[in-house]
Amino acid sequence: MNRLLPFIGFMLLVGLFGFGIWWNTQHDPNAIPTPLLNKPAPEFNLPKLYEPAQKVSKADLLGKPYLLNVFASWCIECGVEHPVLSAAAPTLGVQLVGYNYKDPPADAKNWLAKHGNPYALLIADEPGNTAIDFGVYGAPESFLIDAKGVIRYKHIGPITPEVMAKELKPAIAAMLKEAQ
């Protein structure tokens, strides 16, 4: 028994490290949990990207669920998720709202002209102050907000085809089913 003790200790360590590796591949270690999940989205009143004189508030968007996609022209991973979002937008089942984050409007417009514009509505937060209320700390981030203005799902980082199929679409389906 005493002879086996070091081996048992070794196997315990192997198990512990194995769990650590598994755990870190299961989720994004850089994603921090949002305390806003299943809570009302914060109030906002932001200008439209293409018509800055017009403002869009949270109240304006109530009544219809939407996916708020935080993006910026300087964000490399946004270019990764953009084709995925663009392809899925027509069949998403919810409105796609673009949230241009800490971006000079001219850069954002150039970027959209180059990559295409799948957004039904585009709002701009150049100073990035409203984004703090959403707990945004980078781009891309996406929030699924229901007709009552409650945040139902949040994804930090690019929406890959896998995230789209395994997380976002089921979350939208569950939300729409509940609304019926």
């Binding site: 921090i32 949990p33 305390p35 700390y137």
Partner: protein, 148 residues
Amino acid sequence: MRRLLRVFLVASLLLGGFACAQAIEPMPFKDHAQELRFQHLTHQLRCPMCQNETLADSNAPIARDLRNQIFRMMQEGRSDDEIRQYLVARYSEFVLYDPPLTVGTSLLWFGPLLILLGGAGVVLVMIRQRSRAARTMDETPTDSGDDW
């Protein structure tokens, strides 16, 4: 030539200094005490973006925004606790370098103590086993002569 080099060196040092000074934009603090309070608070908060840096040290855009927000809130007369709660409500307890004692963090707080107690238990068991072994050795007379 050597003089030119010296001028170049001094100039680059000066320019480097300016570049550093610009990375951390000066804030119009009311007084020195407020500046110290700001420094103290931002050193206790974790940047959500580059997770192993404090808000004070980080150069990430979000850290700059949050520093500005903390500064604004200080000017409004909010307390350190209010500012901390404001950040926790948006970025979760992740931003606190000193996590509060809750059910979720109890393992974090008492885990090391548990490991220490476990280790002490193992040591105790081993000492007992050895002393028992030594006692049985004492009881059986040994005549080998070489007790080193």
